[in-house]
């Protein structure tokens, strides 16, 4: 029938669009596939009339082109649906509103310069303390590109240890190599699991990076399948970086399977670098066949030690006198003890510069010393629970004491409101305060529950709602005793 005939032809047409970027030859789009295999051998082949459209071109495409041509003539403002069509075809580049007056780079103080250098977004050209990992990834990718074969790599490590920065750094170096013609050219695609609304959107994003067009995921899937499974001469190697791999794992794991299956195809020349947080993700989450395809080329990024963190911050501040040496050391040691997260260390340093900026407005020579860093650490690491208890109203404090007393009495963590209310009656009588009615005590309970000093059920359970203490009893005693003195 007509439909059965028409469908494969149309998909062949569009798969040629995929090839467009690789061949860099616009005429190929309109050429049917069978003709192209002949054409590939003959490089200097040019069609007689490139402007003439072949009759097999689907109607939809031709109307789109004629519509865009007529629009450019008129210069009329686009209707929203026209705009959407342009966005989908990648013709309209997304943009942000511009500033009225630009940021002036002049009159920046030393602290300000330091603050800009310390911002997490300012990624240095070469990452300090990650040379070994860099070499590892570099040699892997370089080998794969030179051998023109496909492969997989799995990179893991806790957040903030420089995984993505190192991989993109490697890619940048490789691209520079390509420019100097020391390496065959390759394409770089990158997706991030967390930037997708669902795993299957990965196909859409990959296809979009190849061609700039937005299509449905089913369509994108077939096109990509076609691109990677059919052999094509002059295909360059493609490097695909998949960030946050664990988000792409759904129950069926078809997306992860496909992403890792394509490199095994001889025609694909696809190198996949996957990044995730947990070291044992392939064994824990992924199915056997996926793990097998992921292979054993793995790399783990260890959390930074305090020496490394110190070096990182030091490298960013190179040449600046804004920080005292011991201040950087304190930050490095504190952060390394908690998480080894470089982002955290940089943020704390940045906060310290702000504190130094506001505290010492009068002194001309500004420098971040130990006190500023200590204040920043206290702001960003310390918990505020004691402070919160101290600033509760009197009855709320008594209520917290009552919960603590009931926990001590029963020996169980979980208490009911009734028991707490009985303790409340006792404590109130002892302290000589008017007893709040159960209804008011319930609203006290709800207020403390909203702040999460206690964990309580919904108030419709009334006297029988269960209450858990979310702070330690020591915190309560400490906060209330210190206040009494």
């Amino acid at each position: 029938t007509r439909l059965a005939e028409g469908t494969p032809r149309r998909s062949i047409q569009l798969s040629n669009i995929v090839e467009q970027r690789i061949f860099k030859d616009d005429d190929i789009i309109s050429t049917p596939k069978r003709a192209r295999s002949k054409l590939a051998e003959d490089v200097d082949y040019t069609p007689k009339k490139s402007s003439q459209k072949t009759p097999t071109r689907p109607r939809r495409v031709s109307t789109a082109i004629s519509a865009s041509a007529s629009k450019s003539k008129e210069q009329a403002p686009l209707t929203p649906s026209q705009k959407l069509k342009k966005i989908r075809s990648g013709e309209l580049s997304p943009s942000m509103e511009q500033r009225c007056q630009p940021v002036d780079a002049a009159q920046k103080s030393q602290l300000q310069l330091a603050r800009e250098q310390l911002h997490v977004s300012v990624v240095p050209k070469s990452l300090p303390c990650r040379e070994k990992e860099f070499d590892n990834i570099y040699s892997f990718l370089e080998g794969k590109i030179e051998d023109q074969c496909g492969g997989c790599m799995y990179v893991s490590g806790v957040p903030g240890t420089g995984k993505t920065a190192t991989v993109t750094g490697v890619i940048r170096t490789l691209q520079r190599q390509v420019e100097q013609r020391k390496l065959p050219a390759f394409e770089f695609l990158e997706i991030n699991g967390m930037r997708l609304t669902e795993p299957r959107q990965a196909y859409v994003q990959i296809y979009k990076q190849l061609t700039g067009k937005t299509v449905t995921w089913e369509h994108a899937h077939t096109l990509l399948e076609k691109r990677f499974t059919t052999p094509a001469p002059r295909r360059t190697t493609t490097v695909l970086l998949v960030d946050e791999l664990d988000i792409l794992c759904n129950r069926r794991q078809d997306v992860v399977y496909n992403l890792l299956d394509w490199p095994t195809k001889a025609a694909a020349r696809l190198v996949v670098v996957t990044i995730a947080n947990t070291m044992d993700l392939p064994e824990r989450v992924l199915m056997g066949k996926v793990t097998s395809r992921l292979g054993l080329t793995r790399l783990t990024f260890q959390p930074y030690t305090h020496k490394q963190l110190q070096e990182i911050v030091g490298a960013r501040l190179a040449g600046s006198e804004a920080f005292k040496g011991e201040a950087v050391q304190l930050v490095a040691r504190k952060v390394a003890a908690v998480s080894g997260d470089a982002r955290r260390a940089l943020d704390i340093c940045r906060r310290a510069t702000e504190i130094a900026d506001t505290n010492e407005a009068q002194s001309s020579q500004k420098c971040v010393n130990l006190l500023h860093v200590q204040q920043a650490l206290a702001e960003m690491i310390a918990s505020a629970k004691v402070q919160a208890i101290k600033n509760c109203s009197r009855l709320e404090q008594i209520f917290l004491q009552a919960v603590a007393a009931e926990v001590t009495r029963t020996g169980v963590e979980e208490t009911t409101f009734m028991g707490v209310y009985q303790q409340l009656e006792t404590i109130v009588a002892f302290m000589g305060v008017a007893l709040p009615a159960p209804g008011r005590a319930l609203s006290l309970c709800a207020k403390l529950g909203a702040e999460r000093l206690i964990i309580s059920e919904h108030s419709r359970h009334d006297l029988y709602q269960k209450i858990l203490l979310n702070v330690s009893t020591d915190d309560i005693h400490y906060a209330l005793r210190v206040e009494a003195n």
């Binding site: 959407l84 009225c100 997708l196 937005t214 946050e244 943020d347």
Partner: protein, 456 residues
């Protein structure tokens, strides 16, 4: 005297409006305010990307702080021209899809027209990220204000939070993510990679407890009528709101506006003097202390004062200490006891029977049969309750259940058991029943005596 009557009415309206619709005046919190203000200013002027969490108990003035800071900054041309403000609320934007559409509209991106957003969820996300990625230091700063931040943490995968924080930590358009929440442990709700991208700046807003003097001063501030000069200063501030083009500040249209009010100087003086005198009275102090012991927040005092101000009328032109303590007593009173006093005698008898059962069996659950047996024992020997039929008592029992003085043990038990046999628990303390028996109007003596002891 119609003159005085009008003055009173105007005062009442002035005070009410100031209590209810003054969204931008913040008292106290100098350090925190300066902190937030500097952060926003740096975002706007230098194109820094930042993130911040504003944490404090309910009613502590978190939203007011943001409004106040923005009102301050709006006086600054450089801020207005270089920033977009995007307002999101966890209660309204219940998932990322809705939130994303709202962002697209508020940022006036290209795929939004007149509040309508085109394309699917995935397309919207991709387009927004592309836009932000296309931006650099030369594009406008965007300030995202996420109210009820903890609710955004419940969204699927925390996609929105990840992407916002990720933009703030990479070299893209300068944005500032400002989360507002009342949960102290909100950081624990973030996923580890979202947590790593958050800059861990937290500003805590705690209303100052153990400063009762400040509380009484607040009372005075809220009740006094300001002079003409102070009113004018206020008006200028509010006018600056008008020049801001964002729709995010829907409150600016109905903001409290002191311009409409013009008070007689003599009247103002006498009113303020009266308030000062009222505040000195020990009874007032005691009432305020009572309120303060319960809740230290400004919002709580404001609702109290609103009810107080609503009592002003030409016949009673001044606020008296009696009004104050009567209103405070209303706050103190127990609603459930009021409810008990409104029950019929049969219902109260059932409550007493339940109380006896609970006391004997140490709060064991009960059903209608148990309670009815206990009630019948009393009804037989009483002179007033002899002719009561079982159906009527069952109806009374059902009434108790509907007003939730008794609660079924399991919510799903309905339908499995016959209603006479379904087990219940008592949602009252014995003290409340005791109070109700004492306060009940015209309770038969027999019932009152039975309430004292279960032995007849």
């Amino acid at each position: 005297m119609p003159e005085i009557g009008q003055e009173i009415r105007r005062t009442r309206r002035f005070l009410k409006e100031r209590l209810q619709r003054d969204y931008t005046t913040l008292r106290g919190y100098e350090a925190e305010r300066a902190n937030v203000r500097q952060l926003l200013q740096r975002t706007a002027e230098m194109g820094e990307s930042n993130s911040l969490l504003l944490i404090g108990p309910r009613g502590a003035g978190k939203t007011t702080l943001i409004n106040a800071v923005l009102t301050d900054l709006l006086l600054n041309e450089a801020f207005v021209n270089n920033t977009l403000i995007v307002h999101l609320d966890g209660n309204l934007h219940t998932d990322d899809r809705i939130a994303l559409k709202s962002i697209t509209v508020q940022m006036r991106l290209e795929n939004a027209t007149d509040g309508k957003v085109f394309g699917s969820f995935a397309e919207n996300l991709a387009f927004l990220l592309q836009c932000l990625k296309a931006g650099d230091k030369q594009s406008k700063s965007v300030v995202f204000i996420l109210e009820e931040f903890d609710l955004f943490c419940t969204h699927h995968n925390q996609t929105l939070l990840y992407n916002l924080f990720d933009v703030s930590q990479s070299a893209q358009a300068p944005i500032c993510v400002l989360g507002v929440t009342c949960r102290l442990d909100v950081i624990e709700l973030l996923e580890k990679r979202v947590k790593s991208r958050f800059s861990h700046r937290q500003v805590f807003l705690f209303p100052s407890a153990n400063k009762f003097d400040a509380y009484t001063q607040l009372f005075q501030q809220l009740m006094c009528i300001p002079s003409k000069k102070e009113l004018d200063a206020q008006v200028d501030r509010v006018d600056s709101l008008e020049q801001f083009k964002s729709d995010a500040f829907c409150f600016k249209h109905q903001h409290f506006d002191g311009l409409e009010y013009d008070f007689d100087k003599k009247y103002t003086d006498s009113w303020n003097k009266h308030i000062a005198k009222l505040l000195k009275l020990p009874a007032t102090q005691k009432t305020l202390q009572m309120l303060y012991d319960f809740d230290v927040s400004e919002a709580f005092l404001k609702t109290f004062l609103y009810r107080l101000v609503a009592q002003l009328k030409p016949a009673a032109p001044l606020i008296t200490v009696e009004q104050l303590s009567a209103l405070a007593n209303q706050y103190e009173s127990d609603d459930k006891v009021e409810l008990l006093c409104g029950l019929s005698v049969i219902e109260l008898c059932l409550i007493i029977a339940i109380k006896h059962h609970s006391q004997i069996y140490d709060r064991d659950p009960f059903n209608f049969e148990i309670v009815f047996a206990r009630f019948s024992k009393f009804a037989k020997v009483s002179t007033t309750m002899q002719g009561v039929e079982r159906a009527i008592v069952l109806k009374a029992f059902e009434h108790l259940r509907i007003v939730e003085l008794i609660m079924p043990l399991s919510s799903s038990g309905m339908g499995k058991l016959q209603k006479e046999f379904e087990m219940h628990k008592l949602a009252l303390t014995y003290g409340q029943i005791q109070q109700a028996v004492q306060r009940y109007q015209a309770l038969p003596t027999e019932v009152a005596q039975w309430a004292q002891s279960s032995l007849i």
